[in-house]
Amino acid sequence: MTSRLYSYLTLAVVFLFLIGPFVIIVAAALSGGETLAFPPQGLSLKWIAKVFTVESFRQSFALSMFLAIFGTLAALVLGVPVAYAASRYRLPFGEVIRTVVSAPIIVPGIIVGLALLRYLVIPLNVSVGLALFIAHTALILPYAVRVVSASLDNLRSDIEEAAVLLGSSRLATFFRIVLPNIQSGILAAFILGFVTSFNQVPVSLFLSGPGVRTLPIDMIWYMEITYDPSVAALAALLAFLSISIVFLAERFLGFSRYV
């Protein structure tokens, strides 16, 4: 009886820590007061409305969207062939390739950001925007390779041989047979990459410049200057966006199979 009590208690604490911050942010976002505070002073939607009027939020949101969409697409363009090669051929340096590809997950983001700033942006005069794009692509690549590999491993390779024996070239076989059968894996990788890129802080922190800031970095900046609940409102909006994407993905793809 006591052990059951303890397990319920543990569960309650876990939920408190997982969902608590979210509840606080949503409450703060709906505050009628002038400063970021909990419990909120009155209820209003004015901070939610204000989010859409802040020019820097709009700019950084556009940049973050651009990075998340095109960084993920670039990572998929690079990652799908890597995943395919790794699953179908015994590559001479297969293990090395796998390690290099997953390095961005293992190396702390702070170090990646600093390295890119120090050795790409400063000496080579690469624009911060391009460096951000490269960094996000590299960060998403491991996820793209992994998730796509998982669906490739579930796809028997003899169906490709069957297509070849029916007259299809290897390349056409990839597009006609392999791609249609791993599309849910690719979509899952896209969603995972999108969310990863959108939430990325440490690397983006180093790669910021005048007018070039991703949304999370811009939120930090904003908070240092203006301590009003609009940041909480923005955070709540983003949380709802993420939740609905993942909900839809789970509903239609069985997203949790891949992550």
């Binding site: 003899d158 169906i159 041989e161 070849v164 007259g167 070239s169 059968n181």
Partner: protein
């Protein structure tokens, strides 16, 4: 064998890294023949088949098909069909589109594709399944789709990898009849791979028994079943009592035994199926170790001065009890004479 070979494998050698899987194989196959490659796993039968498809490149040797050297021709240009053991249907396409896949690559007009796919599916008795997905079909139905998919391409050779092994006994008989009918109607040259001697005996015009990457015996089902040339083949087709012959005498674990009839000088072994052993009379004595009722017959395991002997007798005859002693004979004139041990 006076016909020129339609599909001709000459000195074909295949290797995986340093392991030789098929060693200088020579195999001429006539047009319209149904050939079985028979052997245990690892004998090189599947490797040989993959070499014919072009999915595997030979280390040396040539493959000629219909008068043309196809050794270096890529797999997608060979006009060779393969029905995979796993069927390998395209899971995202309907039955119709699976069968139409190769025809679409040939850029045939759609009316022609409709007609050919319709004919193909009718041939295998699946006319009502056009819109199903492979996952909605039974194993036997999937296999027939795979067969139709290969057949509509009108391949010069159709290869089948263990075509009956994934089916239950009833479906197996049905599919066997189906394959023979399809072969008769289409006249396509067929080569199938199997480890099951019954499958090979029932289906094939000629059987190629393989061992360690070489042909052990090539012959008609009757030849292979009744006149195995070596200990390996004899063992594979159910001769359970095999003895070597030295200097015209039977070599047993208790020394040489005279034969009742002289055998040809090149004979190096003799083999008897259990049912060829004569029980109840003869020059040898044995003790019944075990007896098992097998429906129409009773199977005996005997302990004898020649070594263990497996025998079989009509179940209608009176049974010998375990532990009883009886005389028996291995009639030399019934035995299969082996050239290699």
């Amino acid at each position: 064998m006076s016909d020129p070979a339609y599909l001709d494998l000459k000195e074909l050698t295949l290797a995986y890294g340093k392991t030789i899987a098929v060693d200088r194989l020579n195999l001429p196959i006539r047009k319209g023949e149904l050939i079985a490659l028979l052997g245990p796993s690892g004998c090189g039968k599947t490797t040989t088949m993959r070499a014919i498809t072009g999915l595997l490149k030979p280390a040396s040797g040539t493959i000629t098909l219909d008068g043309r050297d196809i050794t270096r021709l890529p797999a997608n240009k060979r006009e060779v069909g393969l029905v995979f053991q796993s069927y390998a249907l395209f899971p995202h396409l309907s039955v119709f589109e699976n069968v139409a896949f190769g025809l679409r690559l040939r850029k045939l007009p759609s009316a022609e594709i409709n007609r050919q796919v319709g004919d193909g599916l009718a041939l295998v008795g699946l006319s009502r399944f056009h819109n199903r997905k492979p996952a909605e079909l039974s194993g036997g139905q999937q296999q027939r789709v795979a067969l139709a998919r290969s057949l509509v391409m009108q391949p010069k050779v159709l290869l089948l990898d263990e075509p009956l092994s994934n089916l239950d006994a009833r479906l197996r008989l049905e599919m066997r009849t189906e394959l023979q009918r399809v072969q008769r109607e289409s006249g396509v040259t067929m080569v199938f791979v199997t480890h099951d001697q019954n499958e090979a005996l029932a289906l094939a015009d000629r059987i190629v028994v393989m061992k360690d990457g070489r042909i052990e015996q090539l012959g008609s089902p009757e030849d292979v079943y009744n006149r195995p040339v070596s200990r390996f083949v004899a063992d594979f087709v159910g001769f359970e009592n095999i003895f070597s012959v030295e200097n015209g005498r039977l070599h047993t674990q208790n020394g040489p035994v005279d034969l009742s009839v002289p055998v040809p000088p090149e004979t190096s072994g003799l083999a008897w199926r259990p049912k060829m052993v004569r029980l109840g009379e003869g020059r040898f004595e044995g003790e019944v170790l075990g007896v098992a009722f097998a429906g129409g017959t009773r199977e005996y395991l005997l302990k004898t001065e020649l070594g263990p002997i497996k025998a079989e007798m009509d179940a209608a005859a009176p049974a010998f009890a375990p532990g009883s002693r009886l005389s028996f004979d291995l009639p030399t004139e019934n035995a299969a004479t082996l050239q290699r041990m």
